[in-house]
Amino acid sequence: MWEYTDTVKDHFFNPRNAGAMNDANAVGEVGSLSCGDALKLMLKVNPETEIIEDAKFQTFGCGSAIASSSALTELVIGKTIDEARKLTNQDIAEFLGGLPPEKMHCSVMGQEALTAAVAAYKGEELDEDDHEEGALICKCFGVDAGMIERAIRNNKLTTLEMVTFYTKAGGGCNSCREPLEELLADTNKAMVAEGLIKAEEAFIFGSAPAPKKEKTVKGFVIPDTPVAAPTGPAQPSAPVQIAMPAAPAAAPAAVAVAPAPAPAPAAAPATGLSPAKEAILVARLIEEMRPTFKRDGGDVELFDIEGNIVMVHLTGACSGCQLATQTLGGIQKIISEALGRPVRVIPVAKT
């Protein structure tokens, strides 16, 4: 059974303003019978002041749909039309003390009914229906199949990691991994058929690498840079890195499909921040982390930043610590989140 808040239960068992209204002058009817949700919102608006003097609802739907409708009427009564149209579904959900992720659509339906009623009152045309469609795939972040498919198509995504970067789907409890893999494989297959991506780029179901701990950083060796490579055109031996989009936030349309990990210095992507500002931010983050390391008898210092690579000195107990790899992973996560792009943190020896 769903975990409803006490407010949701209260508004379901004791709904406010339920029933028909015969003298309404603004009515919004939305919903979908196949989904089992439909709402009729009736408003009585004072034509002089444009204040909503009364509101009633009739809802065909589950407990949270009825509670959302009840909350909606309580929220709009006493507001002017212009104030009311600023209400969002988040306002409804907040009024109810939150809704389970699968039930957020109930609050969306409330907002849509309000929009429809206001449009009817003003004599405006309703905008195109733009509500999300498809089955809810990722329950942690409320991402549905339609949104994921659009992200895959628009950005030519071909790995699970990229899907998670773009949509957040699969970034939580990971229980949607299988449906996510299926959706990616199906969408890629269709894209190959349409000539949007090459067959060899497409994700094949079941081909995702198993989640594993990155163990490639051994000891504290500075990875070879292409310049330093002594013999021939050897490949850079930088540890294998999962292909990541260059700039998720800035220019998703321009992202090439899973580029091979480029040599570090060349991979500096465009972000909202200038390199200098990024450096200041990273320095500050590391400074904030230092007390934690010092408590354990170690220390960490920023050495340099080159593109996607953040180089740090590990000293004291941190240096040579068996947990160094995990420590670096933690720092890497914090910096990546702050910069809004993936970076790799590697330890370098102090010279």
Binding site: L33, A38, L39, Q58, E112, D129, A135
Partner: protein, 406 residues
């Protein structure tokens, strides 16, 4: 939920799971801390357990009318039995890669065949049903061929209680050399079964639907049927299902099977009478509702009533508040937005399918309990209908409501 009132709750969700009978618990208890041995061991601790397992196997054998007790393989539940049966049937018949099943099976079959179809090159035929939930037998005949590896039909539907004529369906499958599997999870213990007199090759059962413990099921495998285990391991269950036997649960299931068999005839009579009283009472007092399923051939304990113009979860929450536990095939309780696949396959309109409520009785259900349901349901339905956009002061008025995107 805490909303339960002081009155003793009325449990009418026995198709979901049942109360373990006290006698069953009592039979199980010694096998936790006294007779805890592993049945495979040579010493006395193990030997005693072995004897108890044999007895339990015989009790289940008698309940389903199997010819031999070794035709019963204990599993972890109905779902494992279903997975084992379908996969085994495909593996032992190279060259046959088609599965026939119905559109109204339990997800333990449907999601498995979806997977096989999508990822393992299996061709799946899903046979439809009519408005009463009866199988389209002509469509079934048409799909049978020498490519059919296995046919899987349920004995009784978990939502409507509709019973399929599985003995006849099994004969048809054998005419084409296909194996026949039956998901009898809802039927075992509720209706008489004599599996040896049928052509059924494999049959799935679950313990907790007949007042046994959860986490245990069984697969009937007719002697001589070719078989590949799903779970390999030790020699348990004659090498057909590896893993140390769940001795306490098996003993419990044996006891439950014994008890179900002993009182089945009178239980059927009493449950049918109570079920019919519930249905006629509700249809008469509520209005705009109807009973789903095949009125002539269904389980004695199951009644799914579709209440028009309101949604199931809202009804369930109100029922729960009144101390009545039932269930719905409705969208909002399962997490998906589609209403029950069973009711949709029966072509029941959305406005009614969303408001379908399943009342499933057990042999413990009393007349007083049914009377309480009859007393509170009309008011709950009326209260929700006042809030429904398909309803006006004059009653149902679906034509007055036309939502923006339907």
């Amino acid at each position: 939920m805490k909303d339960m009132t002081e009155v003793t709750p009325v449990y009418l969700d026995n198709n979901a799971t049942t109360r373990v009978w006290p006698e069953v618990v009592e039979a199980m208890l010694p096998y936790f801390s006294e007779q805890f041995g592993n049945a495979s061991s040579i010493h006395a601790f193990g030997a005693e357990v072995g004897g108890a397992l044999r007895q339990a196997r015989r009790s289940l054998q008698e309940l389903i009318g199997a010819e031999f007790d070794h035709e019963i393989i204990f599993t972890s539940g109905g779902t494992e039995s279903n997975n084992t049966a379908i996969r085994s049937a495909l593996q032992v018949q190279p060259g046959r890669n088609e599965v026939i099943t119905s559109a109204v099976e339990h997800p333990a079959i449907l999601s498995l065949v979806d997977w096989l179809e999508k990822h393992e090159d299996v061709v799946v035929h899903r046979i439809g049903v009519d408005k009463l939930g009866r199988l389209d037998i002509d469509a079934y005949r048409e799909k049978l061929s020498d490519k059919t590896a296995v046919v899987s039909f349920m004995w009784a539907n978990n939502e409507t209680g509709t019973i399929f004529p599985v003995d006849g369906l099994a004969e048809l499958a054998h005419q084409h050399g296909a194996l026949f599997h039956c998901d009898a999870v809802q039927a075992v213990g509720k209706v008489p079964i004599d599996v040896k007199s049928t052509d059924i090759d494999m049959m799935s059962m679950s313990s907790h639907k007949l007042h046994g413990p959860k986490g245990l099921g069984a697969l009937y495998l007719k002697k001589g049927t070719r078989f590949r285990p799903l779970q390999r391991g030790g020699h348990q269950e004659r090498g057909r299902r590896g893993g140390t036997e769940n001795a306490p649960a098996i003993v419990g299931l044996g006891k439950a099977a014994e008890m179900a068999r002993a009182s089945m005839a009178e239980d059927i009579k009493r449950m049918t009478a109570l079920r019919d009283k519930l249905e006629t009472g509700l249809v008469a007092s509520v209005g705009h509702c109807f009973v789903t399923g095949d009125p002539l051939d269904r389980l004695p304990n199951t009644s799914t009533i579709a209440f028009e113009y309101i949604e199931g979860e809202a009804i369930l929450l109100k029922l729960n508040q009144a101390g009545i536990a039932a269930s719905s095939g409705s969208a909002c309780t399962s997490g998906s937005l589609e209403p029950s696949h069973v009711l949709r396959a029966m072509d029941i309109p959305f406005t009614a399918a969303h408001g379908a409520i399943r009342f499933s009785l057990s042999r413990e259900t009393t007349e007083e309990e049914i009377d309480r349901v009859l007393a509170v349901v009309p008011e709950i339905i009326a209260g929700l209908r006042v809030m429904s956009p398909f309803w006006s002061a004059d009653g149902a008025s679906p034509e007055n409501f036309d939502p923006a995107y339907a």
